[in-house]
Point group: C2
Chain length 659, copies 2
């Protein structure tokens, strides 16, 4: 049934040419296509299912790319992509990977930006509109027509979204903000504004207080945001409007998903009266008990394809669950122990079950990383024990708060840094920059555990009572282990699921936590290998021994925020080469600090100054490059490291094979 | 007249003990004290003058430190400090420097946090309140009573403030948000919310839309925020309230300032009916034409003491004015050229005169660094030429946007990075971390001009039309020169005020802009000296020649985001020592990249691998340490550098004196 009309849509002009019945049929086809695509490929399906009619209506009414549509986060742009020449990428499995999960100007003139973080659409739209208005004032014309920002109610919790709303009205001129209100963030919405937002929905947009009017904005409401005819009418009304306006549309996240599961007959009506027979729960779609509609998807945030269902947890979920399992038994006796997740609990193993058990010990503060870290600093100041958990790249939103409220104020905050280091992620979610971000902030301790047991010990230490002996005196960032460590854990632990939750030992103080760990002491070559690269160091050492009968020194530094100069000095007399490995950006990263240490602390005797080489990621953005390929690119393989060692070995370093 | 009652106030309990007439007299004394202190010492006087009665009322009603008062930004905490045992620091010039300009827990148990960036008070207060409520739920009691956040209407424009408001209502429990509405940000308020806020004032707090109610918060209004009796009554009403509430108080920024200037007789009534005879304009207080009240201070943001009036511009103002003077003539022919200042124009030489001339080419977007950078990315996408200007440490608020919207999207944004590098600033405004922040982001070009002419050429290049030959293909951060460069410019330029605004030459392409500049070619020692440290490199070279007849190579790298490997390679054959100088943090900074380059690109012949030493700042926070002292601490002096060179020289490097 899929693709009959959709196959004929090559451009938004084709949407405009359809009859009204065909427009309805197109919506049905798109929804069916999204569902089939989701099952086969995975993706952010929930928000896109809700946006089918709105996106069709946008392209029916507006003239992209003359009119500029900015999709917030832009993971809800699948329908937009289908309507702008990229339908094959959703219809034909052979083409599934030809488009990214976000808008991308390199793919289409209809895409304005690459956006994977929330809340920036209004500010970006302000910039487009400002330039248009400046050009028009100067020359009477501009290449830009209407400017439309499409933002979800979840994204609206981001501080920058409010900054944008506040600036939009002050700027004036044509600017259309489509608020896609599906009553859901990634998980449930959280915040005081959602009550008044519900009153707006209940009153057909007439209730006060009206948040958007409070920001000085004009406001319209469309009650059925899955009714394509109503949406077309609403958008026609605001087209070419001469001032900023919010068009608040009430959509259903995951519309058609539950129905499709129960009947798969496409009972979603084209007028949007989506019916839900029953809630449906699976790994596909994390249904929240708090979801206001039965059948509504919580996340579909990283929805997995069918073929991946039932697979073992990825490292984020695995170690996230492990951390939560370690914290949960402490809640009863530690009232100030609070886990804070800015909106992405599911991805990080913070399950529904945990959240229910945790009660007030768990806070989903919306997509508000800056608030989350500041809130944590407040908890710490009051003597509590906050643990903030989210994805490394999202933590970039709280950079200033890490500096100011957290570190400068010596706030005992624990940061769980998920997806840190290299991965096959898209370019907006890469964790290659986390060590550079965290470890250079004065006063931040950053730990890089290399096993599950290690990870738990680190968490136990960072969350020790403030007055306990050996407790950290400030913030601790713990980089959650990645796939290389998980693999290693699976290999080395008979039953990885049963790693004991180790209580911090009394001797487990700061000095011990910050000491490098010499796992094998050899000579000539020392390999210092941070976090996820540690298993590689062991393999390299094995190979060195197998090939040359050379026993290299293998060190897990376990942290990257200070240098253990005792250990570094201990290498001088017996090592000619120090190799650092890290799965993040070299520039501003960790290994180059080791290099600089030896360079700036040279000994008179030339032979007592080991050569240092640094292996890690170059400074670049990468987009969905498989991790194996990245590891090869950066020499983060056994062969790559050995080649770099040989390269150095053939140089100025004397060859002394011990047997 | 000052200090009669104030001298008797050692603790908030003393405020509670006063008779009502004495309470009024105390307010008068405090205001007079602030004015005298401001004349003698300088400081954030405007906001404090407005907060006299509110602060007195807070300490009259609440029980600090059991009740926790969090001052946003906290530069309006002078009155709080006077009432909590620190009055001498404002009364007696001998004690003026004994307190910081912000709250500081190390000074007093009544201070909750060190805060110098805006908008975080509500989130911090949420954290304090959360912990209290968790403790109470578990144990029935807590060491924390009422939690009060004091936030200004200017701070309210920060995204994190909205995140905090949105979370406060959802959290519930006792939380009192005092909105100090003086109708002014640092400069005028900017944003759509200020219209509805004005309606609230005009309606005695009854109008809709009500922004705070839209965030789900209870709301009260006090029309005369300089009437201490009214404030006491209002605070008594909300004391021990069981849910979050906003107490919106309407105060007068700079209350008493204009009056004091015209009559100096203290006509400020204790009931707060502050009269203003006429506006007053001076270097003290930057009066905005947009100021809603005659006599109201725009900024007093960095109000200077009397003794500093009429002094030459500091580097920020000097180079800021220079940049604006270069841009202004282009506005007529470049409609898309827009200067964006997140709220601190005056400090950076963006004068009232410029703003008037610039018209729509200038945007003060409020205290919204994240929006500012994102807005700029939107302008760039539309083909415009945005220039975003603010203080280095404030730009930390936009770290994620620099990564995502700006760099990943190849947005041609120019960032003017003020106060970058070392300075005698307080710990919340230090610029020692800017190179580490900007230059490690993939795709960002960071320039470090070493003269005014250089700075203008850099600005001309970064703002070249996108299609011009040699134009940058992405964002450019220009670090505005500091005091060492300004001194150098004054010395080397007959009339520094008349530096020609150099148009970019056709050959001035990226490769030329990114090439290191070898200003003196010598042998044995090469000094690579970034930005503000460049004049030091010249002095060191002079001394080396004077002492040893040694001609060192002196290089101005001019940028710190890529390595000019051609130049680095050219040093191999003739140099045994490479010295890097930078006035920022070494870890994650620039010089260690040079070290890592040579370490990772060694030659077979050992003598062809120069030793590298790095001189710069250690990883630490510093608070109001004079620049000279920091330079000594970090060896950023002629003697310091020479000592480091001698240290290296006595090591493994052969001594070869050329004559």
């Amino acid at each position: 049934m899929t693709g009959g009309i959709l196959h004929t849509i090559h451009d938004p002009a084709d949407v405009k040419a359809l009859s009204t019945p065909d427009l309805h049929a197109l919506c049905d086809e798109i929804r069916a296509t999204l569902l089939a695509y989701g099952h086969a490929h995975g993706g952010h399906i929930g928000s896109n299912l809700g946006m089918v009619e709105a996106t069709v209506a946008l392209h029916r009414v507006f003239e992209s790319p003359h009119d500029r549509i900015v999709f917030d986060v832009s993971h809800q742009s699948y329908v937009h992509k289908m309507l702008t020449g990229r339908a094959e990428a959703y219809l034909d499995p052979a083409h599934f990977d030809e488009v990214t999960g976000f808008t991308n100007p390199q793919e289409s003139v209809h895409d304005q930006f690459v956006l994977g973080h929330t809340g920036t659409s209004v500010s970006l739209a302000c910039g487009l509109a400002k330039t248009r208005d400046m050009e028009r004032a100067a020359t009477g014309h501009s290449s830009i027509g209407n400017v439309i920002a499409v933002i979800g109610d979840g994204s609206l919790s981001s501080g920058i979204a409010f900054e944008g709303l506040n600036n939009a009205a002050a700027q004036g001129g044509n600017l259309i903000i489509v608020l896609n209100d599906n009553e859901m963030s990634i998980a449930g919405d959280f915040g005081g504004m959602y009550g008044p937002l519900a009153q707006l929905r209940a009153s057909n947009g007439t209730a006060q207080p009206n948040l958007f009017e409070a920001f000085g904005l004009d406001y319209r409401y469309v009650g059925d945001g899955n009714d394509v005819d109503a949406l077309v009418a609403a958008f026609e009304e605001v087209r070419d409007i001469d001032h900023p306006v919010v068009v608040h549309i009430h959509t259903l996240k995951g519309a058609g998903f539950a129905t499709q599961h129960t009947s798969n007959t496409g009972s979603v009506g084209s007028t949007g009266n989506v019916s839900h027979d029953e809630p449906w729960h699976s790994d596909h779609c994390d249904l929240s008990d708090a979801a206001p509609h039965a059948g509504q998807c919580e996340a579909s945030h990283w929805q997995t394809p069918d073929r991946a269902l039932g697979r073992p947890d990825d490292p984020r979920k695995y170690y996230g669950k492990m951390a939560m399992a370690a914290l949960e038994p402490r809640f009863a006796s530690e009232p100030g122990l609070v886990v804070i997740s800015p909106a992405t609990p599911g991805s990080n193993g913070i399950t529904h079950e945990f959240r229910e058990h945790a009660g007030a010990h768990y806070v989903d503060c919306g997509i508000t990383e800056a608030h989350a870290v500041t809130f944590a600093a407040g908890i710490a100041r009051a003597g509590g024990t906050p643990v903030v958990a989210t994805t490394a790249s999202f933590f970039q939103r709280a950079y200033d708060q890490f500096f100011q409220e957290m570190s400068l104020n010596r706030s005992r905050v624990t940061v769980l840094d998920f997806l840190g280091g290299l991965s096959g992620s898209d370019n907006t979610h890469s964790g290659a920059y986390d060590v550079m971000m965290f470890a250079n902030i004065p006063g931040v301790t950053m730990l890089t555990p290399t096993s599950g047991a290690d990870f738990l010990a680190d968490l136990a230490w960072s969350t020790m009572p403030a007055n306990a002996s050996g407790a950290p005196d400030g913030p601790v960032v713990i980089r959650v282990p990645g796939s290389a460590i998980l693999e290693h854990d699976h290999q080395t632990t008979a039953d990885a699921g049963k790693i004991a939750v180790s209580a911090p030992s009394p001797t487990c103080g700061a000095s011990r936590m910050l000491s490098y760990r010499v796992h094998q002491r050899g000579a000539q070559i020392a390999i210092l290998s941070l976090g996820n690269t540690y298993p590689l160091a062991e393999r390299v050492a094995e190979q060195l021994y197998a090939d040359n009968r050379m026993t290299a020194t293998v060190i897990d530094p376990h942290q990257c925020s200070t240098l253990d100069t005792d250990t570094l000095e201990s290498l001088r007399d017996t090592h000619q080469l120090v190799v650092t490995l890290e799965d993040g950006q070299l520039e501003g990263g960790w290994g180059e600090k080791i290099t600089a240490y030896y360079a700036n602390h040279r000994e008179l005797e030339a032979t007592r100054n080991p050569q240092v080489i640094n292996i890690g990621a170059v400074k670049e953005f990468t987009d969905r490059v498989p991790l194996d390929e990245l590891n090869h690119r950066y020499d983060l393989t056994v062969d790559g490291v050995l080649a770099r060692i040989r390269e150095a070995w053939n140089g100025a370093i004397p060859m002394v094979i011990k047997r």
